[in-house]
């Protein structure tokens, strides 16, 4: 019991503490990819920039626009963080497993499915045309990515025979990493994951160049920061899940003797996928709305259904 509580404290703490450095790293990585230096002013190489940002966000005036739906306006940003942290609580990192759950993978899916309401409600309650359009886009996007993502995960689950993260890693320790069996599911899941956290090239609900700031146009101060916490925690959680499903999670050399190494391996693998989201952001332009819906419904959905049959054949042979 105390073990679970400490694990939960560790995971929630990790998620909240990791966000400011990640925002710094993102800006640095983006800067260097675009031949700039990124933040340089506050501290050596700008390392203290996240602290300066935090101070600014905390002391900024909190504005609720006239005509906004007050209850939903206040409720939406906290919903974003809440859903993301709930999803984080069931994902094991190495031996640190706060809430061991038989259907852990499904729970993460469910939480990420309802986390979109934060964008949607923020867009609706702001009483602003840009935000409203962003809310509509968020709703259409969730309908687009949810199905291919679900089907891609179903293929993986058919192969592993379990929703339990610990079982999934155990399967991979005996049979080899999941990506060798399910490359299509990996590619689909990776793309849907980017769409899910609304990162470029699927940042349609934010769309700075056409919708000002999208769903968070009217938000300021800590409410605005809450959206960012939710978004980045979601990125961390989904990166952890990808490395669990396709790259053996905490398995690696010497990991069975030293569990701490396993935690490190897992975090490193997840770190690569966090880096990948920065990379994508620097590389690809945003999809147009109809293009996004087209590739989701016409390419990835049939592909992911086809992939289920591949997974079934594999499960027959590998078991």
């Amino acid at each position: 019991m105390i073990e679970h509580f400490l694990s939960l404290l560790f995971i929630v703490g990790l998620m909240l503490v990791a966000v400011p450095p990640i925002t710094y790293l993102e800006r640095k990585v983006l800067g260097h990819m675009q031949q700039r230096s990124g933040p340089m002013v506050v501290g050596p190489h700008g390392v203290l920039q996240p602290i300066a940002d935090a101070i600014k966000l905390i002391f900024k005036e909190d504005v609720i626009p006239r005509g906004a739906d007050k209850l939903l306006f206040v409720f939406a940003p906290s919903f974003s963080v809440f859903a993301a942290l709930l999803a984080a609580s069931v994902v094991p990192i190495g031996f640190i497993n706060a809430v061991p759950m038989k259907s852990g993978l499904l729970f993460v899916m469910a939480m990420s499915a309802i986390s979109i309401y934060a964008f949607f409600l923020a867009g609706y309650s702001s009483n602003d045309k840009y935000s409203f359009l962003a809310g509509m886009r968020a709703a259409a996007q969730v309908l687009g990515y949810e199905l291919p993502m679900g089907f891609a995960l179903m293929a993986v689950v058919i192969l592993f025979g379990s929703f339990d993260f610990n079982e999934i890693v155990k399967w991979q320790q005996t049979h080899g990493w999941g990506i060798f069996y399910q490359p299509i599911a990996f590619v689909i899941f990776l793309i849907m994951m980017v769409a899910e956290v609304c990162r470029p090239p699927f940042d349609l609900p934010e769309g700075e160049s056409e919708l000002v700031g999208g769903f968070h146009t009217e938000y300021s101060g800590m409410r605005f920061a809450a959206f960012f916490f939710g978004e980045y925690i979601n990125i961390i959680v989904l990166s952890l899940v990808v490395s669990l499903l396709f790259f053996g999670g905490w398995s690696g050399p010497l990991a069975d003797k030293h569990p701490v190494l396993g935690v490190l391996y897992h975090l490193l693998k997840a770190g690569f996928f966090i880096f990948l989201t920065f990379w994508l952001r620097a590389t690809f332009p945003r999809y147009r709305f109809d293009q996004m819906l087209n590739i989701m419904w016409k390419i990835f959905l049939p592909l992911s259904i086809l992939n289920i049959f591949i997974a079934a054949v594999e499960a027959l042979f590998v078991g």
């Binding site: 739906d69 209850l71 939903l72 759950m101 038989k102 259907s103 499904l106 729970f107 899916m109 469910a110 499915a113 309802i114 979109i116 309401y117 949607f120 409600l121 609706y124 409203f132 809310g135 509509m136 709703a139 259409a140 969730v142 309908l143 949810e146 929703f163």
Partner: protein
């Protein structure tokens, strides 16, 4: 402990369900309905049916309410607010709700004791569904397919 949470979420599910019906603002009503569905999922959790609880949150919370809200937001909500209550609609809805309520009470009366609280995962749910109740399951899926094709046929514009 589980019992406490069972009643807490059960109460929440009913209260939010009521709020969903009584709320004049349809978007807020939709959000209340979402809360009701999620609390219902939590009720499943506390009674040991983890898998069904998660699926409840995912399907109803994640997909169906998004569709509702998406459709509602494309309508003119100000116009709907001014719509007067019609006696015919209210009485028909009340009659149907009454019949449904009686059916549920009848079902609850015919239950023999509380259902056993075994932890149910995907496997425990799937094997009766695909072996013992295969025919009803397939009939329901055909019904859903018919409904989908019908919706596409009705919704499609004449070329």
């Amino acid at each position: 402990m589980n019992g406490l949470f069972f009643y807490l979420f059960g109460f929440l599910a009913v209260a939010l369900g009521l709020a969903a019906v009584l709320q004049r603002n349809v978007i807020k009503g939709g959000v209340a309905l979402l809360g009701s569905f999620v609390s219902l999922g939590a009720v499943y959790f506390t009674s040991g049916a983890e898998f069904i609880g998660i699926v409840q949150v995912m399907v109803y919370g994640g997909a169906i309410i998004v569709l509702y809200l998406f459709a509602l937001m494309t309508m003119d909500l100000e116009k709907m607010k001014e719509e007067p209550l019609r006696l015919g609609f209210v009485s028909a809805g009340g009659f149907l709700a009454g019949v449904l309520f009686l059916l549920i009470v009848y079902g609850a009366m015919s239950l023999e004791g509380a259902p056993s609280l075994t932890v149910s995962g995907a496997k425990e749910l799937a094997s009766p569904l695909f072996y013992r109740f295969l025919l009803p399951f397939e009939v329901v899926s055909v019904l859903l397919l018919v409904a989908t094709i019908g919706a596409v046929a009705v919704g499609r514009r004449e070329e």
